[in-house]
């Protein structure tokens, strides 16, 4: 986040961003629930150029056994990038970055799940980033909560993800890859709109206290837009054509 020099104009004089969006606009988001045969729940999400497949298994027996908890079910998350998802081929072995993102996504989903009903079991969430273009953790989180709902796991709310940030001295919604690389700040947010709770929050870059407030506000607004698309994806699977499940 150094505000690196590039030739790209992140914001033109009309307030239009490098990919044609306004400052308070998200990329195009589309979600499909129930795309895998074997998984108990699944979702495919396209968040701009991000393409992510999420599969959920469980509640099921815990292996290794010592991880199980007699009081509650446990949640395990794996965020993984395919070797072909980025410009230079990525080594398929999990990186430290992927381990950290897996952890923050897990902690963003846990508040929404009612796992006390399933003691000694595990719910596994696997997120595969088939193509990455900035903001994958928010997109993966968004897809994961749809997949969990598709799996029929009792939930208090869906968690929607969207980042806010700062590029070319403007506060912007849904930071894309270019803006992340050349911009000044990236603040991903995970949010439960009904419970009005933020469950994922990170920041890379520098913001004044005032900009920080604006980012949170704008980010929550983005999450609410994403939330509507999440609900639509579930409605499409379960409420149209009588639902097949």
């Amino acid at each position: 986040m150094g505000g690196r020099d590039t030739d790209i104009v992140l914001l033109d004089e009309n307030g239009i961003r490098s990919d044609g969006r306004k400052v308070n606009e998200t990329r195009k988001v589309s979600i499909k629930a129930g795309v895998l045969k074997n998984a108990n729940g699944s979702a495919y999400i396209e968040f701009g150029e991000n393409k992510i497949l999420v599969g959920v298994y469980g509640p099921r027996d815990v292996h290794p056994k010592h991880m199980s908890d007699t009081d509650t079910g446990i949640l395990r998350c794996r965020y993984h990038m395919s070797p072909f998802s980025v410009g230079e081929r990525k080594n398929p072995a999990p990186s430290r970055r992927e381990v950290e993102i897996s952890k923050v996504i897990k902690e963003a989903l846990e508040p929404a799940l009612m796992l006390k009903q399933f003691p000694r079991t595990a719910v596994d969430v696997f997120m595969e980033i088939l193509q990455a273009d900035g903001g994958t953790r928010c997109a993966a989180l968004t897809g994961a909560s749809v997949a969990l709902a598709d799996a029929g796991i009792p939930m208090r709310d869906l968690v929607a993800g969207c980042a806010a940030g700062k590029a070319a001295d403007a506060i912007i919604l849904d930071v894309n890859n270019e803006e992340d690389q050349a911009g000044q700040a990236d603040l991903p947010i995970g949010y439960m709109p009904n419970l009005e709770k933020i469950t994922l929050l990170q920041l890379d870059g520098i913001l004044t206290p005032d900009e920080y407030k604006q980012c949170i506000e704008l980010g929550i607004d983005g999450c609410k837009q994403v939330y509507e698309i999440q609900k639509k994806a579930l409605q499409e699977k379960y409420f149209t054509n009588g639902g097949t499940d």
Binding site: L36, N38, E49, V54, S82, P83, F84, S85, L130
Partner: protein
């Protein structure tokens, strides 16, 4: 797991009873492949990509291309590496962590089919002899597992490589530099296609689904090229094949491979 072996035994009895009536559990003929659909260009950031769906088995293959230092003994050839991975979203039994022997076999059989067929003319991928060559990586990700991953990976890989674009590189001060927005078609010489057959008792069936896969006695994967010649073989499983079996399997693989090759050709001319 003891419980699953009882289920497997019951399943095996049922499948075998049906085979005796010349029927398969999903209604196919013995030499009938499940419906195959291939979409190429599904990952625009990769230099080539394909999603192959064979029945309910699904594989996404992505090609990444970058300059590499050649191996010391093959300085006059480009580099080609194919891998395969079964993602944990594909099946409840898949575990994360280092690849198990069956997954290593899957990756190696996928690689061998492409490599031995000489699908890509590697001699045309040299930037500077012994110093710099074009490296092609084709990574397969299995996203849904309903048996016969060998063929699904083979089709996805062949389709992804066949439709890939190779960036142009120029040597500047001994460093290969990408020429922006200039691409070449890959030097494709042939389209390798594998056909996997399972042996259950004395019956030979093509493209086993997961039920058949889990109870089969032995399997054989035969890869043929565009001329109908056999370029790679892999036998697996605890039983053996007779001489007659092998002749029959060779004939089936050529016949079935012909149809599959047409679907792959169509995918890269129609899509993208």
């Amino acid at each position: 797991m003891a419980s699953s072996s009882i289920i497997d035994q019951l399943k095996k009895n049922q499948i075998l009873d049906m085979l005796k009536d010349e029927k398969r559990i999903d209604g196919r003929a013995f030499d009938e492949v499940r419906e195959l659909s291939i979409d190429v260009g599904v990952i625009p950031k990769a230099e080539g990509s394909a999603r192959a769906r064979l029945g309910d088995t699904e594989v996404v293959a992505g090609v990444k291309i970058q300059p590499e230092r050649p191996f010391p003994d093959t300085g006059d050839q480009g580099m080609l590496i194919c891998t395969a991975e079964i993602l944990p979203i594909a099946h409840p039994d898949v575990e994360t962590g280092p690849p198990s022997p069956p997954v290593v076999e899957l990756a190696r059989v996928t690689d061998r089919g492409i490599r031995e067929s000489k699908m890509i003319d590697m001699k045309q991928l040299v930037l500077e002899k012994n110093k710099s060559v074009v490296g092609i990586f084709c990574d397969n990700a299995v996203t849904d597992h309903d048996g016969n991953l060998f063929d699904a990976c083979s089709y996805a890989t062949t389709a992804a490589l066949n439709s890939c674009k190779i960036p142009k590189y120029e040597m500047k001060d001994e460093v290969p530099t990408k020429v922006e927005n200039e691409f070449d078609d890959p030097p494709i010489t042939t389209l390798p296609v594998s056909v996997t057959m399972a042996k259950i008792d004395d019956y030979i069936i093509v493209d086993p689904n997961l039920d058949e896969w889990s109870i089969m006695d032995a399997r054989i994967t035969i890869t043929t090229n565009s001329d109908g010649n056999i370029v790679a073989l892999q036998k697996g499983g605890a039983d053996g094949f007779t001489h007659d079996d092998l002749i029959k399997c060779g004939e089936i693989s050529a016949k079935v491979g012909l149809k599959i090759r047409e679907i792959i050709k169509e995918s890269s001319s129609g899509g993208n």
